[in-house]
Protein backbone atom coordinates (compact mmCIF):
# COMPACT_ATOMS: atom_id res chain seq x y z
CA UNK A 1 0.00 0.00 0.00
CA UNK A 2 2.95 2.31 0.77
CA UNK A 3 4.05 1.92 -2.83
CA UNK A 4 0.68 2.83 -4.32
CA UNK A 5 0.34 5.89 -2.05
CA UNK A 6 3.85 7.11 -2.90
CA UNK A 7 3.23 6.70 -6.63
CA UNK A 8 -0.10 8.51 -6.25
CA UNK A 9 1.64 11.39 -4.50
CA UNK A 10 4.30 11.54 -7.21
CA UNK A 11 1.74 11.44 -10.02
CA UNK A 12 -0.33 14.19 -8.41
CA UNK A 13 2.68 16.48 -7.82
CA UNK A 14 3.79 15.88 -11.40
CA UNK A 15 0.31 16.67 -12.80
CA UNK A 16 0.19 19.89 -10.78
CA UNK A 17 3.70 21.02 -11.70
CA UNK A 18 3.20 20.32 -15.37
CA UNK A 19 0.19 22.62 -15.07
CA UNK A 20 -2.12 19.87 -16.30
CA UNK A 21 -4.57 20.55 -13.46
CA UNK A 22 -4.38 24.32 -13.95
CA UNK A 23 -4.96 24.03 -17.72
CA UNK A 24 -7.92 21.69 -17.21
CA UNK A 25 -9.48 23.99 -14.60
CA UNK A 26 -8.96 27.22 -16.61
CA UNK A 27 -10.23 25.70 -19.87
CA UNK A 28 -13.17 24.18 -18.01
CA UNK A 29 -14.08 27.53 -16.43
CA UNK A 30 -13.76 29.17 -19.85
CA UNK A 31 -16.09 26.61 -21.38
CA UNK A 32 -18.68 27.03 -18.63
CA UNK A 33 -18.55 30.83 -18.92
CA UNK A 34 -19.10 30.67 -22.70
CA UNK A 35 -21.91 28.17 -22.25
CA UNK A 36 -23.51 30.31 -19.55
CA UNK A 37 -23.36 33.40 -21.76
CA UNK A 38 -24.92 31.49 -24.67
CA UNK A 39 -27.77 30.24 -22.48
CA UNK A 40 -28.28 33.65 -20.87
CA UNK A 41 -28.49 35.42 -24.23
CA UNK A 42 -31.14 32.93 -25.49
CA UNK A 43 -33.07 32.23 -22.31
CA UNK A 44 -35.63 35.02 -22.85
CA UNK A 45 -36.58 33.55 -26.24
CA UNK A 46 -37.40 30.22 -24.54
CA UNK A 47 -39.62 31.85 -21.92
CA UNK A 48 -42.37 32.60 -24.46
CA UNK A 49 -42.51 29.02 -25.77
CA UNK A 50 -45.16 26.44 -24.86
CA UNK A 51 -44.05 24.37 -21.86
CA UNK A 52 -43.32 21.12 -23.73
CA UNK A 53 -41.44 22.88 -26.53
CA UNK A 54 -39.50 24.98 -24.00
CA UNK A 55 -38.52 21.87 -22.06
CA UNK A 56 -37.37 20.17 -25.27
CA UNK A 57 -35.26 23.15 -26.32
CA UNK A 58 -33.63 23.44 -22.89
CA UNK A 59 -33.05 19.67 -22.85
CA UNK A 60 -31.33 19.78 -26.24
CA UNK A 61 -29.19 22.74 -25.14
CA UNK A 62 -28.13 20.83 -22.03
CA UNK A 63 -27.29 17.80 -24.17
CA UNK A 64 -25.22 20.01 -26.49
CA UNK A 65 -23.21 21.15 -23.48
CA UNK A 66 -22.82 17.63 -22.10
CA UNK A 67 -21.86 16.37 -25.56
CA UNK A 68 -19.03 18.91 -25.67
CA UNK A 69 -17.95 18.01 -22.15
CA UNK A 70 -17.97 14.34 -23.13
CA UNK A 71 -15.48 15.12 -25.90
CA UNK A 72 -13.27 16.99 -23.44
CA UNK A 73 -13.44 14.03 -21.05
CA UNK A 74 -12.47 11.64 -23.86
CA UNK A 75 -9.51 13.83 -24.80
CA UNK A 76 -8.42 14.08 -21.17
CA UNK A 77 -8.81 10.31 -20.65
CA UNK A 78 -6.24 9.72 -23.39
CA UNK A 79 -3.94 12.72 -22.88
CA UNK A 80 -3.52 12.34 -19.12
CA UNK A 81 -2.01 8.83 -19.20
CA UNK A 82 -0.63 8.74 -22.76
CA UNK A 83 3.03 9.33 -21.81
CA UNK A 84 3.01 8.38 -18.16
CA UNK A 85 4.51 4.93 -18.80
CA UNK A 86 5.95 5.14 -22.30
CA UNK A 87 7.55 8.54 -21.59
CA UNK A 88 9.13 7.35 -18.35
CA UNK A 89 10.34 4.14 -19.98
CA UNK A 90 11.88 6.09 -22.88
CA UNK A 91 13.58 8.65 -20.63
CA UNK A 92 14.80 6.08 -18.08
CA UNK A 93 12.95 7.77 -15.20
CA UNK A 94 11.11 4.51 -14.55
CA UNK A 95 14.39 2.73 -13.66
CA UNK A 96 14.73 4.81 -10.51
CA UNK A 97 11.16 3.98 -9.49
CA UNK A 98 11.04 0.31 -10.43
CA UNK A 99 14.34 -0.45 -8.66
CA UNK A 100 12.71 0.48 -5.36
CA UNK A 101 10.94 -2.08 -3.14
CA UNK A 102 7.67 -1.54 -4.96
CA UNK A 103 5.61 -3.92 -7.08
CA UNK A 104 5.33 -2.97 -10.70
CA UNK A 105 1.58 -3.41 -10.37
CA UNK A 106 1.62 -0.71 -7.68
CA UNK A 107 3.25 1.73 -10.10
CA UNK A 108 0.47 1.13 -12.62
CA UNK A 109 -2.32 1.23 -10.03
CA UNK A 110 -0.97 4.36 -8.31
CA UNK A 111 -0.87 6.29 -11.56
CA UNK A 112 -4.24 4.90 -12.71
CA UNK A 113 -5.95 5.87 -9.45
CA UNK A 114 -4.77 9.50 -9.60
CA UNK A 115 -5.88 9.88 -13.21
CA UNK A 116 -9.21 8.20 -12.39
CA UNK A 117 -9.80 10.62 -9.52
CA UNK A 118 -8.81 13.60 -11.69
CA UNK A 119 -11.25 12.50 -14.39
CA UNK A 120 -14.00 11.99 -11.79
CA UNK A 121 -13.42 15.48 -10.41
CA UNK A 122 -13.36 16.95 -13.92
CA UNK A 123 -16.64 15.26 -14.90
CA UNK A 124 -18.29 16.29 -11.65
CA UNK A 125 -17.19 19.92 -11.88
CA UNK A 126 -17.81 20.35 -15.60
CA UNK A 127 -21.08 18.44 -16.04
CA UNK A 128 -22.34 19.45 -12.60
CA UNK A 129 -21.39 23.07 -13.30
CA UNK A 130 -23.15 23.06 -16.66
CA UNK A 131 -26.38 21.64 -15.22
CA UNK A 132 -26.20 24.12 -12.34
CA UNK A 133 -25.81 27.00 -14.80
CA UNK A 134 -28.84 25.75 -16.77
CA UNK A 135 -30.88 25.53 -13.60
CA UNK A 136 -29.79 28.96 -12.37
CA UNK A 137 -30.53 30.71 -15.68
CA UNK A 138 -33.63 28.83 -16.89
CA UNK A 139 -34.95 26.74 -13.99
CA UNK A 140 -34.40 23.57 -16.11
CA UNK A 141 -33.73 20.56 -13.91
CA UNK A 142 -31.75 17.75 -15.58
CA UNK A 143 -33.08 14.27 -14.83
CA UNK A 144 -30.88 11.30 -13.95
CA UNK A 145 -27.76 13.44 -13.70
CA UNK A 146 -25.79 11.31 -11.24
CA UNK A 147 -26.27 7.98 -13.10
CA UNK A 148 -25.28 9.76 -16.33
CA UNK A 149 -22.13 11.14 -14.67
CA UNK A 150 -21.35 7.61 -13.51
CA UNK A 151 -21.63 6.42 -17.12
CA UNK A 152 -19.34 9.20 -18.34
CA UNK A 153 -16.86 8.10 -15.68
CA UNK A 154 -17.12 4.50 -16.91
CA UNK A 155 -16.48 5.68 -20.46
CA UNK A 156 -13.42 7.64 -19.27
CA UNK A 157 -12.25 4.61 -17.28
CA UNK A 158 -12.30 2.41 -20.38
CA UNK A 159 -10.18 4.89 -22.34
CA UNK A 160 -7.86 5.52 -19.41
CA UNK A 161 -7.25 1.79 -18.92
CA UNK A 162 -6.73 1.08 -22.63
CA UNK A 163 -4.27 3.98 -22.87
CA UNK A 164 -2.37 2.75 -19.80
CA UNK A 165 -2.14 -0.73 -21.34
CA UNK A 166 -0.85 0.77 -24.60
CA UNK A 167 1.77 2.79 -22.71
CA UNK A 168 3.44 -0.41 -21.57
CA UNK A 169 4.12 -1.56 -25.14
CA UNK A 170 4.09 1.48 -27.42
CA UNK A 171 5.95 4.75 -27.69
CA UNK A 172 4.03 7.86 -26.65
CA UNK A 173 3.00 8.89 -30.16
CA UNK A 174 2.02 5.35 -31.18
CA UNK A 175 0.04 4.98 -28.00
CA UNK A 176 -1.80 8.25 -28.65
CA UNK A 177 -2.67 7.13 -32.17
CA UNK A 178 -3.89 3.74 -30.94
CA UNK A 179 -5.96 5.22 -28.10
CA UNK A 180 -7.66 7.86 -30.27
CA UNK A 181 -8.27 5.26 -32.98
CA UNK A 182 -9.89 3.09 -30.32
CA UNK A 183 -12.31 5.94 -29.59
CA UNK A 184 -12.92 6.76 -33.26
CA UNK A 185 -13.65 3.08 -33.95
CA UNK A 186 -16.27 3.18 -31.19
CA UNK A 187 -17.79 6.35 -32.65
CA UNK A 188 -17.98 4.81 -36.13
CA UNK A 189 -19.39 1.58 -34.68
CA UNK A 190 -22.11 3.58 -32.92
CA UNK A 191 -22.99 5.37 -36.17
CA UNK A 192 -23.19 2.09 -38.10
CA UNK A 193 -25.43 0.62 -35.40
CA UNK A 194 -27.76 3.66 -35.43
CA UNK A 195 -27.95 3.74 -39.21
CA UNK A 196 -28.72 0.03 -39.14
CA UNK A 197 -31.48 0.60 -36.62
CA UNK A 198 -33.07 3.50 -38.53
CA UNK A 199 -32.81 1.70 -41.90
CA UNK A 200 -33.81 -1.67 -40.51
CA UNK A 201 -30.47 -3.17 -41.63
CA UNK A 202 -29.79 -6.08 -39.29
CA UNK A 203 -26.25 -6.69 -40.63
CA UNK A 204 -25.25 -3.08 -39.93
CA UNK A 205 -26.64 -3.40 -36.41
CA UNK A 206 -24.63 -6.56 -35.82
CA UNK A 207 -21.46 -4.91 -37.12
CA UNK A 208 -22.05 -1.92 -34.85
CA UNK A 209 -22.68 -4.18 -31.86
CA UNK A 210 -19.56 -6.21 -32.60
CA UNK A 211 -17.48 -3.01 -32.70
CA UNK A 212 -19.07 -1.93 -29.42
CA UNK A 213 -17.94 -5.17 -27.83
CA UNK A 214 -14.34 -4.34 -28.77
CA UNK A 215 -14.65 -0.69 -27.82
CA UNK A 216 -17.76 0.06 -25.73
CA UNK A 217 -16.93 3.77 -25.30
CA UNK A 218 -19.65 5.11 -27.61
CA UNK A 219 -22.22 2.59 -26.34
CA UNK A 220 -21.73 3.88 -22.81
CA UNK A 221 -22.26 7.46 -23.98
CA UNK A 222 -25.42 6.46 -25.85
CA UNK A 223 -26.68 4.81 -22.66
CA UNK A 224 -26.01 8.08 -20.81
CA UNK A 225 -27.89 10.04 -23.51
CA UNK A 226 -30.83 7.66 -23.23
CA UNK A 227 -31.27 8.24 -19.51
CA UNK A 228 -30.58 11.99 -19.67
CA UNK A 229 -33.65 12.77 -21.80
CA UNK A 230 -37.30 11.81 -21.49
CA UNK A 231 -38.14 8.55 -23.35
CA UNK A 232 -40.39 10.29 -25.89
CA UNK A 233 -37.53 12.57 -26.94
CA UNK A 234 -34.97 9.79 -27.18
CA UNK A 235 -37.27 7.72 -29.35
CA UNK A 236 -39.04 10.32 -31.52
CA UNK A 237 -36.69 13.26 -32.03
CA UNK A 238 -33.67 12.40 -34.20
CA UNK A 239 -30.76 14.65 -33.27
CA UNK A 240 -27.05 13.97 -32.83
CA UNK A 241 -27.92 13.76 -29.16
CA UNK A 242 -30.69 11.23 -29.37
CA UNK A 243 -29.50 7.94 -27.94
CA UNK A 244 -30.48 5.86 -30.95
CA UNK A 245 -30.20 2.17 -30.13
CA UNK A 246 -29.96 2.18 -26.35
CA UNK A 247 -27.39 -0.35 -25.18
CA UNK A 248 -28.51 -2.85 -22.54
CA UNK A 249 -27.22 -2.99 -18.99
CA UNK A 250 -25.18 -6.03 -20.04
CA UNK A 251 -23.07 -3.71 -22.24
CA UNK A 252 -22.12 -1.75 -19.13
CA UNK A 253 -20.96 -4.92 -17.40
CA UNK A 254 -19.08 -5.75 -20.58
CA UNK A 255 -17.37 -2.36 -20.36
CA UNK A 256 -16.32 -3.14 -16.78
CA UNK A 257 -14.86 -6.40 -18.10
CA UNK A 258 -12.98 -4.48 -20.81
CA UNK A 259 -11.48 -2.26 -18.09
CA UNK A 260 -10.40 -5.31 -16.11
CA UNK A 261 -8.86 -6.96 -19.17
CA UNK A 262 -7.02 -3.76 -20.15
CA UNK A 263 -5.64 -3.32 -16.62
CA UNK A 264 -4.63 -6.98 -16.41
CA UNK A 265 -2.79 -6.62 -19.72
CA UNK A 266 -1.17 -3.41 -18.48
CA UNK A 267 0.01 -4.99 -15.22
CA UNK A 268 1.16 -8.26 -16.79
CA UNK A 269 2.89 -6.47 -19.67
CA UNK A 270 4.64 -4.05 -17.32
CA UNK A 271 5.69 -6.84 -14.95
CA UNK A 272 7.61 -8.57 -17.73
CA UNK A 273 8.83 -5.45 -19.51
CA UNK A 274 12.60 -4.89 -19.66
CA UNK A 275 13.20 -1.35 -18.38
Amino acid sequence: MNGILAIMQLTWIEARRRKIVLAAVLCGIGFLVVFGLAIYSNSERAIGMPLVQRRMVLQVLTLVGLYAINFLVIALSVLLPVDTLSGEIESGVIQTLASKPVRRADIILGKWLVFWLMLAAYILVMAGGLVAIMYALTGFRQQNLLPALGLMQLEATVLLSVTMAGGVRFTTITNGIVAFSYFVLAFVGGLIEQVGMIGGNVTARYIGTAISLVTPVDAIWRKALAILQPPFMAQTVITPFSGGAEPSAAMLWWAVLVVMVAMTLAIRGFRHRAL
Partner: protein, 306 residues
Protein backbone atom coordinates in the same frame (compact mmCIF):
# COMPACT_ATOMS: atom_id res chain seq x y z
CA UNK B 1 22.29 -12.81 8.60
CA UNK B 2 24.03 -14.22 5.53
CA UNK B 3 27.54 -13.04 4.67
CA UNK B 4 26.73 -12.99 0.95
CA UNK B 5 24.82 -9.99 -0.40
CA UNK B 6 24.87 -10.94 -4.08
CA UNK B 7 25.20 -14.38 -5.56
CA UNK B 8 24.61 -15.16 -9.22
CA UNK B 9 24.84 -18.49 -11.01
CA UNK B 10 25.06 -18.54 -14.78
CA UNK B 11 22.97 -15.41 -15.18
CA UNK B 12 22.32 -14.82 -18.86
CA UNK B 13 20.40 -12.31 -20.93
CA UNK B 14 19.90 -12.08 -24.62
CA UNK B 15 17.76 -9.66 -26.61
CA UNK B 16 16.79 -11.62 -29.69
CA UNK B 17 20.05 -12.94 -31.15
CA UNK B 18 22.14 -10.36 -29.31
CA UNK B 19 23.72 -11.81 -26.17
CA UNK B 20 24.12 -8.97 -23.68
CA UNK B 21 25.24 -11.12 -20.75
CA UNK B 22 26.53 -14.63 -21.49
CA UNK B 23 27.43 -15.91 -18.05
CA UNK B 24 27.49 -13.87 -14.88
CA UNK B 25 28.61 -15.90 -11.89
CA UNK B 26 29.80 -13.77 -9.01
CA UNK B 27 29.59 -13.64 -5.23
CA UNK B 28 29.84 -10.43 -3.25
CA UNK B 29 30.29 -10.38 0.50
CA UNK B 30 28.82 -8.07 3.09
CA UNK B 31 30.89 -4.93 3.64
CA UNK B 32 32.75 -5.34 0.37
CA UNK B 33 33.22 -2.64 -2.25
CA UNK B 34 33.10 -4.50 -5.53
CA UNK B 35 34.17 -3.03 -8.85
CA UNK B 36 32.66 -4.22 -12.09
CA UNK B 37 34.96 -3.47 -15.00
CA UNK B 38 34.78 -3.94 -18.72
CA UNK B 39 34.74 -2.11 -22.03
CA UNK B 40 31.61 -0.43 -23.38
CA UNK B 41 28.97 -2.94 -24.38
CA UNK B 42 30.41 -5.69 -22.18
CA UNK B 43 27.05 -6.15 -20.43
CA UNK B 44 27.78 -4.31 -17.19
CA UNK B 45 24.62 -2.18 -17.08
CA UNK B 46 22.43 -5.10 -18.19
CA UNK B 47 23.94 -7.15 -15.36
CA UNK B 48 23.04 -4.46 -12.82
CA UNK B 49 19.54 -4.20 -14.27
CA UNK B 50 19.04 -7.95 -13.94
CA UNK B 51 20.15 -7.84 -10.32
CA UNK B 52 17.70 -5.01 -9.62
CA UNK B 53 14.80 -6.75 -11.32
CA UNK B 54 14.63 -4.16 -14.10
CA UNK B 55 15.43 -6.71 -16.80
CA UNK B 56 14.30 -10.33 -16.47
CA UNK B 57 17.17 -12.79 -17.04
CA UNK B 58 16.87 -15.28 -19.87
CA UNK B 59 18.33 -18.01 -17.67
CA UNK B 60 20.36 -18.53 -14.52
CA UNK B 61 19.58 -17.50 -10.98
CA UNK B 62 20.60 -14.83 -8.51
CA UNK B 63 19.92 -13.70 -4.98
CA UNK B 64 20.07 -10.24 -3.49
CA UNK B 65 20.50 -10.09 0.30
CA UNK B 66 19.32 -13.69 0.40
CA UNK B 67 16.10 -13.16 -1.59
CA UNK B 68 15.64 -14.05 -5.27
CA UNK B 69 16.10 -11.11 -7.64
CA UNK B 70 12.86 -9.93 -9.17
CA UNK B 71 11.08 -10.11 -5.81
CA UNK B 72 10.44 -6.49 -4.79
CA UNK B 73 11.11 -7.37 -1.14
CA UNK B 74 14.70 -8.17 -2.10
CA UNK B 75 15.16 -4.45 -2.78
CA UNK B 76 14.03 -3.23 0.66
CA UNK B 77 17.62 -2.54 1.69
CA UNK B 78 19.04 -1.79 -1.75
CA UNK B 79 19.91 1.61 -3.23
CA UNK B 80 20.61 2.35 -6.88
CA UNK B 81 22.07 5.25 -8.82
CA UNK B 82 21.49 4.65 -12.57
CA UNK B 83 24.14 5.58 -15.11
CA UNK B 84 22.01 8.42 -16.47
CA UNK B 85 20.05 9.52 -13.46
CA UNK B 86 16.80 11.13 -14.53
CA UNK B 87 13.72 11.89 -12.56
CA UNK B 88 10.60 14.02 -12.82
CA UNK B 89 12.41 17.32 -13.09
CA UNK B 90 9.53 19.40 -11.79
CA UNK B 91 10.12 17.97 -8.32
CA UNK B 92 12.42 19.68 -5.86
CA UNK B 93 15.31 17.75 -4.33
CA UNK B 94 13.38 17.43 -1.05
CA UNK B 95 10.25 16.17 -2.83
CA UNK B 96 12.33 13.66 -4.78
CA UNK B 97 13.77 12.26 -1.56
CA UNK B 98 10.35 12.30 0.13
CA UNK B 99 8.76 10.24 -2.66
CA UNK B 100 11.63 7.75 -2.68
CA UNK B 101 11.67 7.57 1.11
CA UNK B 102 7.99 6.62 1.06
CA UNK B 103 8.70 3.89 -1.45
CA UNK B 104 10.97 2.44 1.25
CA UNK B 105 8.16 2.74 3.79
CA UNK B 106 9.64 5.75 5.61
CA UNK B 107 7.41 8.60 6.68
CA UNK B 108 6.88 11.43 9.15
CA UNK B 109 9.67 12.87 11.27
CA UNK B 110 12.05 9.97 10.64
CA UNK B 111 11.84 10.54 6.89
CA UNK B 112 12.31 14.32 7.17
CA UNK B 113 15.35 13.88 9.44
CA UNK B 114 16.85 11.37 6.99
CA UNK B 115 16.25 13.83 4.12
CA UNK B 116 17.89 16.66 6.10
CA UNK B 117 20.95 14.52 6.80
CA UNK B 118 21.31 13.36 3.19
CA UNK B 119 20.86 16.83 1.69
CA UNK B 120 23.56 18.01 4.04
CA UNK B 121 25.78 15.07 3.10
CA UNK B 122 25.59 15.74 -0.64
CA UNK B 123 25.79 19.54 -0.25
CA UNK B 124 22.33 20.26 -1.61
CA UNK B 125 20.79 21.84 1.50
CA UNK B 126 20.70 25.32 -0.03
CA UNK B 127 19.13 24.06 -3.26
CA UNK B 128 16.62 21.68 -1.65
CA UNK B 129 13.55 23.63 -2.73
CA UNK B 130 14.71 24.24 -6.28
CA UNK B 131 13.17 22.08 -9.05
CA UNK B 132 15.58 19.46 -10.40
CA UNK B 133 15.26 20.96 -13.87
CA UNK B 134 17.29 23.94 -12.64
CA UNK B 135 20.08 21.70 -11.33
CA UNK B 136 23.45 21.36 -13.03
CA UNK B 137 24.54 17.89 -14.11
CA UNK B 138 26.69 17.52 -11.01
CA UNK B 139 23.87 18.63 -8.69
CA UNK B 140 21.48 16.17 -10.36
CA UNK B 141 24.04 13.41 -9.84
CA UNK B 142 24.34 14.34 -6.16
CA UNK B 143 20.54 14.32 -5.80
CA UNK B 144 20.63 10.87 -7.41
CA UNK B 145 23.21 9.72 -4.86
CA UNK B 146 20.98 10.96 -2.04
CA UNK B 147 17.98 9.05 -3.40
CA UNK B 148 20.14 5.91 -3.61
CA UNK B 149 20.90 6.24 0.10
CA UNK B 150 17.48 7.31 1.40
CA UNK B 151 16.42 3.80 2.44
CA UNK B 152 19.54 3.28 4.60
CA UNK B 153 20.69 0.50 2.25
CA UNK B 154 22.81 -2.53 3.02
CA UNK B 155 23.73 -2.80 -0.64
CA UNK B 156 24.18 0.08 -3.08
CA UNK B 157 24.56 -0.15 -6.86
CA UNK B 158 26.41 2.81 -8.32
CA UNK B 159 26.51 2.87 -12.12
CA UNK B 160 29.11 5.44 -13.20
CA UNK B 161 28.50 7.57 -10.08
CA UNK B 162 31.20 10.14 -10.82
CA UNK B 163 30.24 10.94 -14.40
CA UNK B 164 29.41 14.63 -14.50
CA UNK B 165 31.07 15.37 -11.19
CA UNK B 166 33.95 17.77 -10.65
CA UNK B 167 36.97 16.68 -8.55
CA UNK B 168 35.25 17.71 -5.32
CA UNK B 169 32.17 15.78 -6.33
CA UNK B 170 34.32 12.71 -6.99
CA UNK B 171 35.89 13.07 -3.59
CA UNK B 172 32.39 13.21 -2.12
CA UNK B 173 31.47 9.94 -3.84
CA UNK B 174 34.66 8.32 -2.59
CA UNK B 175 33.88 9.38 0.97
CA UNK B 176 30.29 8.18 0.69
CA UNK B 177 31.57 4.78 -0.41
CA UNK B 178 34.00 4.72 2.50
CA UNK B 179 31.16 5.61 4.90
CA UNK B 180 29.07 2.79 3.50
CA UNK B 181 31.90 0.30 3.93
CA UNK B 182 32.56 1.55 7.47
CA UNK B 183 29.01 0.79 8.50
CA UNK B 184 29.09 -2.66 6.93
CA UNK B 185 27.18 -1.95 3.72
CA UNK B 186 28.28 -3.34 0.38
CA UNK B 187 28.81 -1.35 -2.80
CA UNK B 188 28.59 -2.61 -6.37
CA UNK B 189 30.48 -0.05 -8.41
CA UNK B 190 30.42 0.16 -12.16
CA UNK B 191 32.87 2.75 -13.40
CA UNK B 192 35.14 3.47 -16.31
CA UNK B 193 37.39 5.56 -14.13
CA UNK B 194 39.92 2.96 -13.08
CA UNK B 195 41.61 5.37 -10.66
CA UNK B 196 38.31 5.71 -8.79
CA UNK B 197 37.85 1.97 -8.70
CA UNK B 198 41.40 1.41 -7.53
CA UNK B 199 40.97 3.96 -4.75
CA UNK B 200 37.70 2.56 -3.44
CA UNK B 201 37.24 -1.12 -4.31
CA UNK B 202 38.31 -4.19 -2.37
CA UNK B 203 37.78 -6.54 -5.27
CA UNK B 204 37.03 -6.24 -8.97
CA UNK B 205 35.62 -8.45 -11.67
CA UNK B 206 36.50 -8.03 -15.32
CA UNK B 207 33.70 -8.54 -17.80
CA UNK B 208 34.25 -9.15 -21.47
CA UNK B 209 31.55 -9.93 -24.02
CA UNK B 210 29.02 -10.60 -21.32
CA UNK B 211 31.22 -13.02 -19.40
CA UNK B 212 33.13 -12.59 -16.13
CA UNK B 213 36.65 -13.49 -17.19
CA UNK B 214 38.70 -12.62 -14.13
CA UNK B 215 38.38 -11.54 -10.52
CA UNK B 216 41.05 -9.72 -8.56
CA UNK B 217 41.45 -8.79 -4.93
CA UNK B 218 42.99 -5.31 -5.05
CA UNK B 219 44.33 -5.59 -1.50
CA UNK B 220 46.20 -8.84 -2.30
CA UNK B 221 47.41 -7.47 -5.60
CA UNK B 222 48.72 -4.25 -4.04
CA UNK B 223 50.78 -6.21 -1.53
CA UNK B 224 52.09 -8.80 -3.93
CA UNK B 225 52.64 -7.30 -7.32
CA UNK B 226 55.37 -4.92 -8.32
CA UNK B 227 56.81 -4.04 -11.73
CA UNK B 228 60.62 -3.92 -11.41
CA UNK B 229 62.97 -2.40 -13.98
CA UNK B 230 66.68 -3.26 -13.87
CA UNK B 231 69.44 -1.54 -15.86
CA UNK B 232 72.33 -3.97 -15.63
CA UNK B 233 75.54 -4.65 -17.55
CA UNK B 234 74.97 -8.40 -18.02
CA UNK B 235 71.81 -9.92 -19.37
CA UNK B 236 72.90 -13.44 -20.28
CA UNK B 237 70.71 -16.51 -19.95
CA UNK B 238 72.10 -17.47 -16.53
CA UNK B 239 71.15 -14.08 -15.06
CA UNK B 240 67.68 -14.14 -16.58
CA UNK B 241 67.23 -17.69 -15.33
CA UNK B 242 68.34 -16.68 -11.84
CA UNK B 243 65.94 -13.71 -11.75
CA UNK B 244 63.03 -16.10 -12.10
CA UNK B 245 63.45 -16.89 -8.40
CA UNK B 246 62.29 -13.32 -7.61
CA UNK B 247 59.42 -12.85 -10.01
CA UNK B 248 57.70 -13.71 -13.23
CA UNK B 249 56.97 -12.28 -16.65
CA UNK B 250 60.64 -11.48 -17.28
CA UNK B 251 61.25 -9.43 -20.43
CA UNK B 252 64.51 -8.15 -21.85
CA UNK B 253 64.66 -4.81 -23.64
CA UNK B 254 68.30 -4.07 -24.61
CA UNK B 255 70.14 -3.89 -21.31
CA UNK B 256 66.94 -3.28 -19.37
CA UNK B 257 65.18 -6.20 -17.69
CA UNK B 258 61.51 -5.98 -16.69
CA UNK B 259 60.02 -8.42 -14.26
CA UNK B 260 56.98 -8.69 -12.05
CA UNK B 261 58.22 -9.20 -8.50
CA UNK B 262 56.17 -11.27 -6.08
CA UNK B 263 56.51 -8.85 -3.15
CA UNK B 264 57.84 -5.39 -2.33
CA UNK B 265 60.66 -6.91 -0.26
CA UNK B 266 61.98 -8.61 -3.39
CA UNK B 267 63.74 -5.47 -4.67
CA UNK B 268 66.68 -5.41 -2.16
CA UNK B 269 66.97 -9.18 -2.50
CA UNK B 270 67.32 -8.85 -6.27
CA UNK B 271 69.96 -6.17 -5.81
CA UNK B 272 71.91 -8.31 -3.37
CA UNK B 273 71.72 -11.34 -5.65
CA UNK B 274 72.87 -9.36 -8.72
CA UNK B 275 75.87 -7.94 -6.82
CA UNK B 276 76.73 -11.45 -5.63
CA UNK B 277 76.71 -12.58 -9.27
CA UNK B 278 79.14 -9.79 -10.17
CA UNK B 279 76.57 -7.89 -12.23
CA UNK B 280 76.96 -4.12 -12.40
CA UNK B 281 73.69 -2.30 -11.57
CA UNK B 282 73.21 1.05 -13.32
CA UNK B 283 69.69 1.58 -12.19
CA UNK B 284 66.85 -0.13 -10.38
CA UNK B 285 63.26 1.05 -10.19
CA UNK B 286 59.94 -0.33 -9.10
CA UNK B 287 56.29 0.67 -9.12
CA UNK B 288 53.13 -1.04 -8.00
CA UNK B 289 51.01 -2.38 -10.85
CA UNK B 290 48.06 -0.13 -11.52
CA UNK B 291 44.58 -1.36 -12.18
CA UNK B 292 44.98 0.04 -15.66
CA UNK B 293 47.92 -2.33 -16.22
CA UNK B 294 45.77 -5.22 -15.07
CA UNK B 295 42.85 -4.08 -17.19
CA UNK B 296 44.94 -3.91 -20.35
CA UNK B 297 46.56 -7.24 -19.64
CA UNK B 298 43.35 -9.10 -18.77
CA UNK B 299 41.17 -7.56 -21.44
CA UNK B 300 43.77 -7.82 -24.18
CA UNK B 301 43.73 -5.85 -27.40
CA UNK B 302 40.36 -7.07 -28.57
CA UNK B 303 37.78 -5.07 -26.60
CA UNK B 304 34.89 -5.34 -28.98
CA UNK B 305 31.50 -5.39 -27.27
CA UNK B 306 29.67 -8.69 -26.93
Amino acid sequence: MTDTVIETRGLRKHFGSNVAVADLSIRIRRGEVFGFLGPNGAGKTTSIKMLLGLVPPTSGSATLLGAPVGDHRARTKVGFLPEHFRFHDSLTARELLRVHGRLYGLRGGALERRIDALLERVNLREAENRPLRHFSKGMTQRAGLAQALIGDPELVFLDEPTSGLDPLGRLLVRRLIEDLRDRGASVFLNSHLLGEVEATCDRVAFVKRGRTIHELSLRDVAASSLDVELKIDRTDAAILQGLQAFGSDIRLNGTVVHLRAKAEGAVPEIARWLVAQGVGIHGIGSRARSLEDWFVEIMGEDQRPG
